[in-house]
Point group: C2
Chain length 354, copies 2
């Protein structure tokens, strides 16, 4: 399938549906976007030993759980988390509803469109923006807003919808694990309700398999007496760092056998995964490819980064614990599906969603 330069979201959705509804796993040629090496081999070995009957590491199908961080692990997180762009973009609509916010910071700064000033917004300021733009509407209104935004918003570097900036090698891992009976979950520091809107379309992961930072909802009735759930600003769980294993227990109730992340926020999820009995697979994506994507650490002397920090301490922990570090530069043949038009969808990954 050829992909034009700026395909519509609908095309992207159709494309991902084509990928995820394929049914034949090409066991002879798994993970085509991966170069041969320790990272690829560790995935293939793990799947073989945990799914082949009679293997001492066999895991019954109902216990096969694999968890994936999203930002920086499944899709691009630079220069800014997609959800933060959404929230900043929503400030205009918010101020139309509540004009009294127009002259109040941090909303005033966002409306100024002064990039330098926006970049300097403090955490409390950003939290105010998140709380104000992610609450005060019904679940359905919020989902409609996110869908509308996804259809038009573009990443500043690739000029493509955010939903096209998923990592093809990781989509192949999702499909490969599912083809072998694993249930795949997203476990993200991002908003659970936000990621649920597109996770099924772009990753084949249904809403009930998205664990994220959880806002409260309030049950009530609209003016016709119809039952509604409204999003409120109360944070029930920040699904990052220690919150990731806590969120996994809350929503899944089982310990994962495999976990994938890319930053210090994923360390506890990997520790919790590794602490279980039997075979475990823990992997961290290292962004060391400034040409094809971004390079940041500060591990291994890569540039430091506030977003998606991969410290040298985390690198040391990975070596100590036997977690595999994936080098984006060396381990990934392609990064995005749109890079390599010669690949047919059928070779990009297979199997229906689990």
């Amino acid at each position: 399938m050829k992909t034009s330069r700026q395909p519509s979201l609908i095309a992207a959705v159709l494309f991902s549906t084509a990928v995820f509804t394929g049914t034949t796993a090409r066991a002879s040629q798994p993970l085509p976007s991966w170069n041969d090496g320790q990272a690829k081999q560790s995935i293939v070995d793990f799947v073989a030993k945990t799914t082949q009957t009679g293997s001492p590491d066999f895991i019954p199908q109902e216990e096969r759980i694999a968890t994936f961080d999203q930002d920086g692990t499944l899709w691009v997180e630079k220069p800014m988390y997609a959800q933060l762009v959404f929230c900043l973009d929503r400030v205009g609509a918010l101020v139309k509803q509540k004009p009294e916010l127009k002259d109040v910071d941090p909303f005033k700064t966002v409306l100024s469109a002064n990039r330098a000033a926006i970049a300097k917004l403090t955490t409390p300021g950003l939290e105010k923006i998140l709380a104000a733009t992610l609450s005060g509407m019904t679940i359905e209104q919020f989902q409609a807003e996110v869908k509308k935004w996804l259809a038009t918003a573009k990443d500043p570097r690739w000029k493509r919808p955010f939903t096209e900036l998923t990592y093809q090698p990781m989509r192949e891992v999702l499909a490969y694990l599912r083809a072998h009976g694993y249930k795949t979950y997203i476990v993200t520091g991002g908003g659970q309700d936000f990621v649920r809107v597109y996770a099924e379309q772009i990753y084949g992961i249904p809403p009930e398999q998205v664990v994220g930072s959880m806002g409260g909802t309030t049950y009530g009735y609209d003016h016709n007496g119809k039952a509604i759930l409204s999003k409120d600003p109360k944070l029930l769980l920040l699904d990052d760092h220690a919150g990731k294993p806590e969120g996994i227990h809350l929503l899944i109730g089982r310990r994962p056998s495999a976990a994938f992340g890319n930053s210090t926020g994923d360390q506890q999820m990997l520790e919790y995964t590794k602490a279980g009995d039997g075979a475990r697979l823990c992997m961290l994506v290292l962004h060391d490819d400034a040409t094809r994507e971004y390079a940041y650490g500060p591990a291994l002397g890569l540039p430091d980064s506030k977003v998606g920090t991969f410290t040298q301490a985390l690198y040391g922990e990975a070596q100590k614990q036997g977690w595999i570090v994936i080098s984006m530069k060396k381990d990934w043949k392609n990064i995005f599906a749109f890079e390599n038009n010669s690949l047919e969808p059928s070779t990009r990954g297979t199997a229906a969603s689990h």
Copy 2:
């Protein structure tokens, strides 16, 4: 399969495994423990119209969600919720760990074994007992405690393990819906971690499909540096009344198409289910069979009850909204699997868990 008078928990588990791993749905004879009537017919009609290709009410398989209250809907809730019995039974072990509680109420009252005094415990007293007995240990320790208790504790009337007091007609509904592509969830006011311990064994419902009242956990490390999650007394969500649709959104993220309950605590779940587009099935079990189980309302002049209250107002709401009231007395041919030893497992319900 013959069931002896007091079969072991292992036998009960083997039995339920046999029920839930059958693979052929007997479409010609669904719901054998149900008498013919509006209740049975409404289930059969709903499944037919939502799962037959070309039907105007067809629901795609990934959107087929059915939610079930547990206490009083799937198993006996009288004279006391099983979980409350567990908590009271745990007070002895708790006091061994913390002897300073021995002379302090409400623990002192529970240890006195004075039934009249225990029955008079106030809500704040009971909450103290729940908080103290359901927290302060790792998830794995808690699960082991519940398993140990389930293996020995008996219901006072039937002298059988609580896990045998499930309603056979409702187990058939679970299996029938699953055989038609529905994902079945428990949505209970009881503790999510408590119900998850046995839901897979007795209902074929895996941990990730149990929504219940949610306690917080705290991530940390044991003395060997191994990652652990400890249960803490903080309540994240009380999954009852308005908390049920809120819990459904939090864990599932989709609106159910079918919902089953038996008390005022289920009203909002049924309202939320009904408020969606397309075909919906909402049902309430009415306990009107004092001989075979219990009779309580106070709807229709049945005796009033603090546990599992079914008010006349709820009955009126059911009539107004088109929710079906199931009469335990008239609609159910059998109530428990152990009543009718002549039934072979294969006729009792089918289909693997979803």
